[in-house]
Amino acid sequence: MSNKLSAKERMAIERAAMPELPAEERSRTFEEVNLGLDSEQALAEARRCLQCKNRACVAGCPVAVSIPEFIDALASEDLPRAAQILRGDNALPAVCGRVCPQETQCEALCVRGIKGESVAIGYLERYVADWAMLHPDQLLHSKAPAASGKSVAVVGCGPAGLTAAGELARQGHKVTIFEALHDTGGVLRYGIPEFRLPKEIIDREVAVLSDLGVTIELNVIIGKTLTISELREEFDAIFIANGAGLPTMLNIPGESLKGVYAANEFLTRVNLMEAGRRDDSSTPIIKRAQVAVIGGGNTAMDCVRTARRLGAERAMIVYRRGEAEMPARVEEIKHAKEEGVEFVMLTAPVAIIGTEDHWVSALRCQRMELGPPDESGRRKPRAIEGSEFDLPAGVVINAVGTSANPLLTATAPDLALNKWGNILISSDGETSIGGVFAGGDIVRGGATVILAMGDGKRAAAAINDYLNRKHD
């Protein structure tokens, strides 16, 4: 089958189904759930793309990947060129191919989605990115840029920082990433579980950046080990992408009980510290048969699916609105259900109940009903009086969100913040301090990997302009 197909022939091809580990098998291991398309599936899927002129899908991508172009190269079985196009636009394609909400971005705008199913752009991105990782010898390399003589400090080694670093290095700037933790990847490593994003993928994406000449310094907490003003003395520009901070507490009785986790603690123990994943991990984790996770976002799904893999017989999502209002990706909800997760909807926690020796024993809840829409456009839940009941649980995980981390901003008084402590930026990502840019969750509050990456890409372009202006 060649790539010279008529539109009718392209339309006749059905969307590929992602091969998955069977739910029974995977709900007890941390193996990756989505196995990736095989080459036949990928070629067929690529040939479903109509190559339309207006490229609606590209407008839906926060990092503006040249989607029709890389798909066309793939459909023509020119994987080296497909990889070159993709990597040219996206510093972390193997990550995005796995965790991006394509269904609300590129794929939502795909012409084929109007009357049928959109092209599986995310699956194809992953296919090309994974191929590139396995075939480094076949990759086409763009000429190394001339050194600009300028240096940029990137604060934080998460999706925004890695993206900005890649873009800036490709412009010939000398980039140093400062990371507070002992390993790379930020939320990609401590937050997203292995079964959605294997750590090896992060290692490989980071290795690509190192090959571009990016230096990564671990264990450096900007705001503590070094300050922004110290960085300004040493670097020509700074990009701050230090991520989200403190968990938002529920402020209900019983939050101090043993067995109550904030999502970040639970996920960090398992993902970054390997608690419960490796027998020889030094970091412990509390495992119980009944686990209640409060929240309806992707973090809540990650927690509940992790709890299931740690052995919970009853792993529950407790969410105050209905399933239709859940911010989590459809795929995450589907996978969680297949793995036996229970969804306790229209239910809000009112207290955490403990035993005499201060261990969690239950989550006291009340039933909710949906009223008229609130400012977010979603129907506002309201409590049904007298509907309280206790949900037995040995572990309760709070996945309702995070607030801004104060560590960096506390020692940078010139940095303008909003009332929640997030850094204020101009449209091109510059902060109130000249030459200092910011993006990702420290600007947005809690958002997605791809939005953070979009910020990194935009800020890198602005930093490049700034450095060129500075040079003139």
């Binding site: 507070a180 933790l181 002992h182 401590y190 671990l218 264990n219 450096v220 907490i221 503590k224 080990t225 070094l226 991520g243 989200a244 901070g245 403190l246 968990p247 507490m249 402020n251 939050e255 101090s256 009980l257 043993k258 067995g259 986790y261 904030a262 970040n264 603690e265 960090t268 123990r269 510290m273 390997e274 490796r278 020889d280 991990s281 030094s282 970091t283 412990p284 509390i286 020796d357 201060h358 995070t402 981390n405 104060p406 560590l407």
Partner: protein, 282 residues
């Protein structure tokens, strides 16, 4: 990688390690801590920075080695390496010249107290330092604390050194004596000791500061594991502390949370052939 410059035993299971960490040494203020991870697969452990030499680029860590992870850290000889040392973290101690102050240290808490005493002495305070332990073998840093203090008092439970009993007895005498009553009290040690000190000074309304040692994972204000109730509000020891107004701290809640992993630790102890004890890093 961070090189271990020296490693000496101060008392049973208590090591003084000097580690090369130039940036931390330069930035560090009294009251702050570092997160230490010996090697891949090991725990992240919060350790108070006992002292620092910004010129030599070193920090001094006092490590009580009674848990599996801390025992492996202190097994690192001079010339060896610690993979991760991140900091300085936490807020610095608010130091001013109160005039007369009392500094109370229990067990390894004395090591956490040491940098505070040093800073308070430099600020011109008249310091009565009271340190205690189970027996003379557990009394540490008395030679270092003595020249910084106007008076150094020692209490041991078995009476093998100083007065017999707890540190609260000499403190009680000070509080009862109008000539010696302190304007501020700093207390670091086991939770019951800090709680007892807080109760003693509460009646007289004497400003009392304690340094807390809750369970931490990242230490950078991300995970919320180190939360404590202070004045009815949730505070995070890693960013809001580790020092707090003793009169506002919920010590009982802190005590309970410290036992969260007792069972898992017991298993690890058995695995590393250690018979007693529980991980208290700081």
């Amino acid at each position: 990688m961070f090189e271990v410059v020296s490693n000496e035993i101060l008392a049973e299971n208590l090591h003084k390690m000097v580690v090369s960490a130039p940036r931390v040494a330069r930035a560090r203020k009294p009251g702050q801590f570092v997160m230490v991870r010996l090697a891949q697969g090991e725990e992240r452990i919060p350790l108070t920075i006992g002292d620092a030499d910004p010129v030599a680029g070193t920090v001094t860590l006092f490590i009580q080695a009674i848990g599996a992870s801390t025992r492996r850290i202190v097994d690192t000889k001079a010339g060896g390496f610690i993979r991760d040392v991140a900091g300085p973290l936490g807020k610095e101690t608010h130091i001013t010249n109160w005039g007369r102050v009392a500094c109370v240290g229990g067990g390894v808490g004395t090591a956490v107290l040491f940098p505070l005493v040093k800073a308070l002495a430099e600020a011109g305070n008249q310091i009565t330092t009271i340190i205690g332990g189970r027996s003379s073998r557990y009394i540490i840093l008395s030679d270092e604390l003595s020249p910084l203090s106007e008076t150094l008092l020692v209490a041991t439970e078995d009476g093998s050194l100083g007065s017999k009993g707890f540190v609260t007895a000499p403190l009680g005498e000070m509080l009862a004596d109008p000539e010696r009553v302190p304007r501020a009290v700093f207390a670091v040690g086991p939770v019951p000791m800090m709680k007892a000190v807080a109760e003693m000074t509460r009646k007289q309304g004497i400003e009392t500061i304690v340094s807390l040692n809750p369970i931490m994972i990242d230490g950078t204000g991300m995970c919320g594991g180190c939360r404590v109730q202070v004045g009815g509000e949730t505070k995070f020891a890693c960013v809001d502390g580790p020092e707090f107004d003793a009169h506002l701290v919920d010590f009982d809640g802190l005590s309970e949370r410290l036992t969260s992993y007792r069972k898992e630790e017991a298993v690890r102890h058995a695995a590393t052939d250690c018979k007693i004890g529980k991980e208290v890093a700081r």
